[in-house]
Symmetry: C2
Subunit: 441 residues, 2 copies
Amino acid sequence: MRASSVKAKPSTRVPLNRLTAAELTQSIARGTKSEDVVSACLERIDDREKHVHAWAFLDREHALKQARALDRSGPRGQPLFGIPIGVKDVIDTADMPTQMGSSLYQGHRSGSDAACVALARAAGAVILGKTVTCEFAGMSPGPTTNPHNKAHTPGGSSSGSAAAVADFMVPLALGTQTGGSVLRPASFCGVFGFKPTFGAFNRRGMFPAAESLDTIGVFARSIADIEILSTVLELGAESPAAGLDRRPRIGLCRTPMWEKAQPETVAAVENAAEQLERAGAPITPVTLPDSFAELRHAARETINNYERAGAMADEWNTNRESISPVLRKRIEIGSRMPRSEYLQGLRLGEECRAKLPQVFADFDALLAPCVNGEAPRGLQATGDPSFQTIWTILHTPSIALPTHRGPHGLPVGIQLVAPRYADRQLLACAQWVWDILSPTI
Amino acid sequence: MRASSVKAKPSTRVPLNRLTAAELTQSIARGTKSEDVVSACLERIDDREKHVHAWAFLDREHALKQARALDRSGPRGQPLFGIPIGVKDVIDTADMPTQMGSSLYQGHRSGSDAACVALARAAGAVILGKTVTCEFAGMSPGPTTNPHNKAHTPGGSSSGSAAAVADFMVPLALGTQTGGSVLRPASFCGVFGFKPTFGAFNRRGMFPAAESLDTIGVFARSIADIEILSTVLELGAESPAAGLDRRPRIGLCRTPMWEKAQPETVAAVENAAEQLERAGAPITPVTLPDSFAELRHAARETINNYERAGAMADEWNTNRESISPVLRKRIEIGSRMPRSEYLQGLRLGEECRAKLPQVFADFDALLAPCVNGEAPRGLQATGDPSFQTIWTILHTPSIALPTHRGPHGLPVGIQLVAPRYADRQLLACAQWVWDILSPTI
């Protein structure tokens, strides 16, 4: 199979698996076959998967079959025509198992596509395979390594999606974020990671971790690609914004967790701010209202544990011994939590969201730390989600940009955050920022 | 099977299937077997199901087996020990199919319990069977009739749950409400129907109709029973409120749809207000802020259609011809809707929710119409959800009380609504109101 597809591949300087979705769309419009795109991705996976372990399920022949069907008869011109995407293994796929990173779901098939998968498929995407997730999108990692250094974590819980996109195995992948499960692995692996406004992408068919926080997100190697996939997942999205017609007004928000930032994160944020200021974007420090300091605890220790205990009541009843000790402990804490404590967490989130208009009054976006620092060494933990979590409970759209490197040469991202529902504005700001910062990387 | 259980049944004046869950718990504590309770429910179903058609799936032997296992070894004292409950057929059950009221899901088994089912099971409940739902919890009815007159609709979409509880087939049942799918059938069938604050009962394993509106709710023949099941589904619920220590302050909220109220609904609401006033509860008319008038359209025509189109993208891709024309049209409208229109609907909901503290400033609860009138004749439609929908998008807890009768002798309920998160306060007010009104029924 691979031999024939290699033969058929048109000569390009950059291998197809290294192109972005937008570039692939152009290439396909010029005659490249989706089969060749998929073959190039599969070859890359054949080469690298033994080191990266990004995939929980991959049926090469099935992936190629989807591509060939599109090449034969698909309605060209669809926004994702022929483009392979990876799907985090807590998101249902009709034609593949969804195994949740847990032995409890070994071989489990839901029989239907999650909404986001169905929408991508309807837009012409090839569902390449399922990417490794931490157990039930929590904190217990799977086997995935950081493609930049396999002794380091790729982050989690969308570990496989981040690593696969970073390692040029697939141009786009779907993930989920309940704490920091999209932006942290994006930052650690050196790709773009986008969490839209809460609720922007329909969650049918996603295994819930904590339903008032869970948000489906996207990994890509360009901001344009995020926009393409977002447009599909948003259903009736307006035409993509044509970029900003002026310099964005950016607030520098170090957040109440700034003391957790390691030197490389401090350097990344300060350097980004300096460069943007030099490029003519006014950068003004922003202090979040005092009450925001409690958001991290409310999201992570309160809402997450309580809602997790509810969502996993079935597994708790029937198979609790097969749940990892780390997750078991969270479910236990959640099960014993007084409801009043949970409601207090929900109310704090709501009160802080009500203050966002004043936080963003003078800004199009906030520049914030994305992670503590570069990906920690070791595969037993996926790093600290603190810098991502507060934006998750605030329901604001946020994006990780792979702008910097740390002391071990590993990626360190920055984070941009926009007001709720201003997802397109965020992507436009992110493109502007990226255009300033990327030449210096 | 039935013969032996009849033999074993302790002599009671009221048949076991007519007792409430609270009464059954007392009876079981005095030695009644869960098997006998289940047998009594099954006998009632055997007698009446040919008229009522409340059940989408029922495995008599499996139900009895659950009861016998509890009788043998279950930890007595659990809040739902030995109590049978019905489950709307859009809510997953590990041991039964979940068929969504659609030929598309004939025989479908998810393999796991929804959170609400798992929590009820862990609390000792017997999952009696699956109750008829409108197609995908929408507007296309199943075969269920109104137990009071089989020529009339039971309401929907939780048709079977309402009818089964009303017809003494089961003391408790789970439903879902996206527009008016709990309170309308409760009112039409003459039982209590409770929709808690949005998010109160975890939605894992529920087929989503519109995720920013979908709320799991409860049908029962007493308010105490609603409190018992709520306590289980809320996880770490505080001990049940001990009732109000004073007369509740009740606002009379005719709502902007008052002109839709038929004479029997006008009479029910006005009569309830008079009686409560006579009993010493100050009743003050409340006018909702002007912007609330648009809520019904935002919920029903905008958010519902848009989110439905996302949720059902898989069925739309693969089997749209098997979706009813009514639902297909809604999905088509949702798929074509500009995202800006959807976001406007979401924002309106949020803005109105932010005004709720001022609406409720002087009130513990609002008395509102529950339905247009009694259940309409015919089984082709389930009635108008207008009077329920605005409270669904407002995320407020609401309860239907079966207080009145219409011109054909069919039930007509009233609705009480409390501020978000004041679910216990609502139940306490409802009990106070019920104690005043029920002697006159």
